[in-house]
């Protein structure tokens, strides 16, 4: 089994009895390392629910999830494989949100270096790792700035650097381009593609964004909790 993302028969039900909502119904997905796939669907279709399950912040009702070659959840074998979901998120999953959500009281470098530090790496090593990523994302010249001093696009690139900081096999991006204009949105997608191939990361991008949908080579459509795989246009980003 390769080191991407594999989801088999994943279901999630919110609530019990009459008020229960089947947010995910028997979802199957596979994303290879280095691949960026889009996850699109109408409002209420279950996109965020899927990200939360993969992100180990809510527990699925049924199914199996494999991240980076390791089963992290299997309902047939007692659920989560590790009791320490925090460490799982820290070491194996990168998160990118709709807004950058940088920590306002840490400078750009430490916003990125915080993750390796939380994982127990020394400050100096963590910071040089952060600088490396900031360089790759072309924001190294703002390394000492406070997040509030950065433009929206720069902030989003810093948040991408943060997601990559612990070299996770997987990145989950929740509408990462929503607040950005067309050019900036495409730039973010280009960066995600670059990073995916450079670091062999499997990336899921949840999006509504018509500007970026044509760029995916593969797209999962989700409707009422069920996914359908579809080939994307895979348009080159100039």
């Amino acid at each position: 089994m390769d080191k991407g993302i594999h989801i088999e028969g994943l279901s999630k039900r919110y609530g019990e009895g009459d008020t229960a909502v089947e947010a995910l119904k028997d979802v199957n997905m596979s994303i290879a390392p280095g691949e960026v796939v889009g996850l699109v669907g109408p409002s209420g279709s279950g996109k965020t629910t899927l990200l939360k399950c993969l992100g180990a912040v809510i527990e699925p009702t049924r199914g199996r999830m494999t991240l980076g070659g390791e089963v992290i959840y299997d309902s047939a074998q007692g659920g989560w494989k590790t009791p320490d979901l925090r460490a799982l998120r820290r070491d194996r999953i990168g998160f990118i949100f709709q807004a950058p959500y940088l920590i306002p009281f840490l400078d750009v470098t430490d916003n990125v270096a915080l993750l390796p530090m939380l994982a127990g790496r020394a400050n100096a090593a963590s910071r040089s790792r952060a600088l490396e990523l900031l360089q790759a994302l072309d924001v190294a010249h703002r390394a000492k700035a406070q997040p509030s001093e950065l433009s929206g696009g720069e902030q989003q690139r810093v948040s991408i650097a943060r997601a990559l900081a612990n070299q996770p096999p997987v990145i989950l991006a929740d509408e990462p381009t929503a607040p950005l204009d067309s050019a900036r949105a495409l730039a973010v997608v280009r960066i995600l593609n670059q990073m995916a191939s450079q670091y062999q990361t499997a990336i899921i991008v949840v999006t509504h964004d018509e500007k970026i949908i044509p760029t995916f080579k593969r797209i999962y459509h989700i409707r009422d909790g069920s996914t359908v795989e579809e080939a994307g246009e895979g348009r080159e980003i100039s």
């Binding site: 820290r90 009281f105 840490l106 994982a119």
Partner: protein
């Protein structure tokens, strides 16, 4: 790992310092209240020390002369002088009076004493001791009187010839020392109308104004206008005798009460200022509660303002312990700023207080510990709120 709390404090130091200063002023007020109490205790001790006495002899069954009215005959001291172990014994009077100074009245404690005897102010900061037997005064600097000024006590004018300091009554009134005879007279001095009326009343009493006994009325009138009472006799014990033993002998043989220095301190501190101490204690409790409420409120609102960041921190794997530690350190940091500001402001404003404020280092250290404990407790509210934050909220809807 970097200190998240420290970074946050540095980032929003303006808010932090402002809050810390506000808290600090409150802590300063608290320290000052404690200082007021310490000052009262110290005033009492200085009062006892400066009187130069080993034993206070007062009216039987009273706790005079400071805590209760006491009156004894002014010849008792002669009997005391004859007792073994008594080296010196001298009459003193204490009376709270308004002293006229220019156009204003000042509340003082007027002390009557005999120069060279116990009861004389221990040392002078300016001027000289009393040399003439009448109408000279030594005043505590707190009165604001200056050397050479004339002050009026009842019907007589006195010249201020000396100044002393740290001589205040247990009520905080500065003392004015005058010769014993003047003080005795001042205690009983009536205005002219009252004297005329008294004489007429005595003359109208057939028992005191008998036709067959010439001179009786004059003798009675004279005895009424002379005051043979003092408030206490101060005794100095000779070398080789203990105050406790001598006091016991005095109590046994004379119909008076005698207190040693320790007993006097007990009366002044444990009884006389006990109510004030409780009053101040209440204040301290309230100020502590208010400070705690402020810290709790500030830290809580600061934490609520960071809910989003806390959710992100949790999502990317920050431990609860780290987040709780961050909030706790911020609360302690706030407490520390508050304590420093409080200590400095209390030190700066203490001399401006009318009564002596004694700021003890031990009290400050105790306050520091209490501030830190209170801040730690106050942060629990915010910590609980932070720990309840669901990392899933960072992902959004």
């Amino acid at each position: 790992m970097i200190s998240l709390a420290g970074r946050d404090i540095l980032h929003s130091w303006g808010k932090f310092v402002l809050t810390g200063v506000g808290l600090g002023l409150l802590i300063g007020a608290t320290l000052t209240m404690a200082g007021v109490y310490r000052g009262m205790v110290d005033d009492a001790r200085v009062l006892l020390t400066n009187s130069g006495a080993d034993i206070w002899v007062v009216q039987k069954d009273t706790q005079g002369p400071y805590a209760e009215a006491s009156s004894i005959r002014d010849d008792v001291y002669r009997g005391l002088l004859g007792m073994p172990g008594v080296a010196q014994a001298a009459n003193v009077t204490y009376l709270t009076m308004q002293v006229r100074h220019g156009d204003t009245d000042l509340r003082t404690m007027v002390v009557g004493f005999e120069p060279g005897q116990p009861g004389e102010p221990g040392y002078l900061v300016a001027g000289r001791r009393l040399l003439r037997g009448h109408f000279e005064a030594i005043a505590d600097v707190k009165t604001g009187f200056r050397l050479g000024e004339r002050i009026r006590i009842r019907r007589h004018d006195y010249e201020v010839v000396g100044l002393t300091r740290r001589m205040v009554s247990s009520g905080g009134d500065p003392m004015v020392f005058i010769p014993l005879k003047d003080a005795q007279e001042a205690q009983f001095l009536k205005d002219n109308d009252a004297i005329t009326a008294d004489r007429a009343r005595t003359a109208a009493n057939p028992a005191l104004n008998r036709p067959g006994v010439p001179g009786l009325l004059d003798a009675v009138t004279a005895s009424q206008t002379i005051n043979h009472s003092v408030n206490a006799v101060l005794v100095k014990v000779g070398a080789g005798d203990t105050a406790a033993n001598v006091a016991q002998e005095i109590r046994r043989w004379k119909h008076v009460q005698a207190y040693t220095r320790e007993q006097m301190e007990e009366i002044l501190i444990a009884k006389l200022i006990a109510t004030s101490a409780k009053q101040i204690g209440m204040f301290l409790v309230i100020l502590t509660v208010v400070s705690a409420a402020i810290v709790a409120f500030i830290i809580y609102t600061m934490t609520l303002g960071k809910i989003r960041e806390i959710a992100v921190l949790k999502l990317i794997g920050t431990r609860n312990r780290t987040i709780a530690g961050m909030i706790l350190q911020q609360a302690l940091g706030l407490g520390l700023i508050g304590f420093i500001v409080g200590k400095i402001s209390a030190t700066l404003w203490a001399p401006a207080f009318p009564k002596y404020v004694l700021l003890e280092t031990a009290d400050a250290m105790r306050a520091l510990v209490i501030v830190m404990v209170v801040c730690a407790l106050a942060s629990t509210l915010a910590i609980r709120a932070a720990l309840k934050v669901d990392p899933a909220t960072a992902i959004g809807g």
